[in-house]
């Protein structure tokens, strides 16, 4: 009889603990969904500047001066400024990806209107760089094996290019290579080649290109390398915006956001913003624990697994009797 009580006590403790862990995770997920779901507020509210009255522009419009390029003295060059809608994105148990708005303005804009196509804007977002091995299978004696591999350093975990027009219309190949814009020019340095099939020699350059293309293709396939040729839109003479989706499988960490202003194939100005994806709540604690106390984390996982097994056995044991 005492044994029976003892068993029941253990069983109910385990049930409660597991239920509590699970319920709190679900609760947090639900809360986070509510927190992140509303669409980002308009850019002006995010910049921390007091809102100005709509009808009262502080400075008179510079429209009369902007008829022609030459009307403005060459000593006032255009510059671009930009920011992102959310600088710190919280990744919690309810995270299913997020959309950020990159917005900005061209100072001293000489553009007559939003649709004129006078300027080109390219927005590049790059995730944290890491080391990635690309493997290639080939057939040896009727069997498919990983025969070659090439490792690249500094490969961005995420890469998005949003632009006002297709990149090849905006500037020349050489310019794009220089600024590392475009899937073909993502920064990644070959770090070492295969020893898989015993051939430890370096791959020729053409082959490295093949591996690099494969990497970009696979990353695009999983939605981590994305582009939108017409994703940036001017709203007025100087204001522009771009909506960029970060998928749920994106790697947490800092993101470099670079905004380029082009005119006639020439880069006029560039602006950089930092965007950060951070784990929060339970996600953060779990992740930190797993990396700081791996042994306890591992043993804890085993303990939970064993408790879950015991629990199931107790529950079904009761129903059998």
């Amino acid at each position: 009889m005492a044994m029976q009580h003892y068993r029941r006590a253990i069983a109910s403790t385990i049930v409660l603990t597991l239920a509590a862990i699970f319920a709190s995770a679900l609760l947090e997920a639900a809360l986070a969904q509510r927190r992140t779901s509303p669409t980002p507020p308009p850019p002006s509210a995010q910049r921390g500047e007091p809102r100005r009255g709509q009808q009262m522009p502080v400075t008179p419009p510079a429209a009369p001066k902007v008829k022609l390029d030459e009307a403005r003295p060459p000593d006032t060059p255009e510059t671009v400024q930009a920011d992102v809608s959310t600088r710190n994105v919280a990744v919690t148990s309810g995270f299913t990806g997020t959309e950020i708005v990159v917005f900005g303005a061209v100072d001293n804009s000489r553009q007559p209107g939003a649709e004129s196509g006078y300027y080109d804007i390219v927005v590049v977002i790059e995730g944290t760089p890491s080391r990635i091995a690309v493997r290639k299978k080939s057939r040896i004696g009727g069997i498919w094996l990983n025969t070659r591999s090439s490792t690249f350093e500094g490969v961005p975990s995420y890469y998005a290019i949003w632009s006002t027009r297709p990149l090849d219309e905006i500037a020349s190949e050489a310019t794009m290579i220089g600024y590392e814009i475009g899937f073909d020019h993502v920064r990644m340095t070959p770090a070492g080649d295969s020893e898989l099939a015993g051939s430890s020699s370096r791959l020729p350059a053409a082959d490295t290109g093949e591996f690099r293309k494969a990497l970009v293709r696979l990353k695009s396939g999983s939605g981590l390398y994305v582009k939108d040729d017409f994703g940036v839109a001017f709203i007025g003479r100087s204001l522009f915006r771009a909506n960029i989706a970060l998928p749920a499988n994106v790697t947490v960490g800092p993101f470099d956001t670079r905004v380029y202003l082009f005119r006639n194939e020439k880069l006029l100005s560039q602006y950089n913003v930092r965007l950060n994806l951070e784990r929060e709540g339970i996600e953060r604690h779990v992740h930190d624990f797993a990396f700081n106390w791996p042994l306890i984390y591992g043993m804890g996982t085993v303990l939970i697994a064993m408790s879950a097994g015991l629990l199931a056995a107790f529950v079904s044991g009761k129903s059998l009797r």
Binding site: I21, F22, A25, A29, T92, S93, G94, F95, T96, S130, R131, I132, A133, V134, R135, K136, K137, R139, I143, W144, L145, N146, E195, L196, A197, F211, A214, L215, R217, K219, S222, A248, N249, T251, V252, R279, I282, E283, R284, V286, H287, A290, P294, L295, Y297, G298, M299, G300, T301, V302, I304, A305, M306, A308, G309, L310, A312, A313, S316, G317
Partner: protein, 306 residues
């Protein structure tokens, strides 16, 4: 209903993970195999990064094996003595295996050699088992005896020293064959990264002549230890255990394992062996297919350490 996984860094469907855990847990409870070999590819197919799938699957197997082993224990189907001998052999085998792997990996085509060995072993075991169980099933239909073991049967292994009495299994044999079996499977497990249940179950049935029902419970008993150690090693060496994913899989897994054990109760030994033979052959074909079939994309990417 989605949940974000802290280690895998992605969002998964809760229902899908529960379902996967349950179906693999069912097989585990029914056959006494760990099921990691089925779960890992399923997870990868669902988009979980390979390292996390490999690291987390054993945690689910711990849960379903505990649940399955307890369910079998209530039915008197666990031979703790035999299980302990297997575990002892397994520990030594995997220790040797881990060191062997790093030595052999430098020679190049080692991985292929292992895969081919595994496919061959599974293929041979599966076919033999299928033939035997079908024959027994037919004999049972004709009204003959369905016992795998003839009393008074002796073979070379009875001449070996360290004889032990394994009461649950109704065996009085040398401890060496189960020890060596444990060591061999431990070695394979370390090399292949799988639990080895697919090999240990048929080996116990056919080599040690342990009754089929006792095999299931005893195999689960030893799998608990193997996978528990693997989980801790994965957590410390590669930080690849995702506890949230593990929890989801476990909840499904323990329910599936209980159902599997209950279903196993209704089946006769030879029926169980027949179904297991089909499963072993299916796994064999799957691994073999990957080796022979042209992959949809010859390239693959993987985060690289260092």
């Amino acid at each position: 209903m989605n949940l974000y996984l802290p280690i895998a860094e992605m969002s998964v469907s809760v229902i899908l993970m529960l379902g996967m855990g349950a179906s693999v847990g069912f097989l585990s409870g029914l056959f006494g195999v760990g099921g990691g070999f089925l779960l890992t590819p399923l997870l990868i197919f669902a988009g979980i990064p390979t390292s996390v799938a490999v690291g987390t699957a054993p945690a689910q197997v711990v849960a379903s094996s505990v649940s399955g082993a307890l369910a079998q224990w209530r039915r008197g189907n666990v031979d703790f003595k035999l299980g302990s001998v297997l575990v002892f052999g397994g520990v030594i085998g995997s220790y040797v295996g881990v060191h062997l792997v790093s030595a052999l990996r430098r020679t190049g085509h080692f991985d292929v050699f292992v895969s081919l060995t595994y496919v061959t072993l599974l293929g041979v075991v599966g076919v033999l088992m299928l033939v035997e169980s079908l024959r027994t099933l037919q004999r049972a239909k004709a009204g003959g005896t369905s016992s795998l073991r003839r009393s008074g049967q002796h073979n070379w292994s009875h001449g070996l020293p360290f004889k032990m009495r394994f009461q649950r299994s109704k065996l009085y044999i040398s401890a060496l064959p189960p020890f060596m079996l444990g060591a061999f499977v431990g070695l394979l497990a370390a090399i292949m990264g799988v639990g080895g249940g697919f090999l240990i179950v048929p080996a116990m049935i056919y080599l040690l002549h342990v009754p089929t029902n006792v095999v299931v419970g005893t195999s689960q008993f030893q799998i608990i230890f193997v996978t528990a150690v693997t989980t801790v090693l994965n957590a410390t060496n590669s930080h690849s255990v995702d506890i949230v994913l593990a929890l989801l899989l476990m909840i499904g897994g323990v329910i599936g394992a209980e159902a599997g054990a209950a279903a196993g109760e209704r089946l006769r030994g030879e029926q169980l062996r027949f179904l297991l033979a089909l499963l072993v052959l299916a796994v064999c074909l799957r691994v073999g297919w990957d080796l022979v079939n042209a992959p949809p994309d010859p390239f693959s990417i993987q985060p690289s350490e260092g």
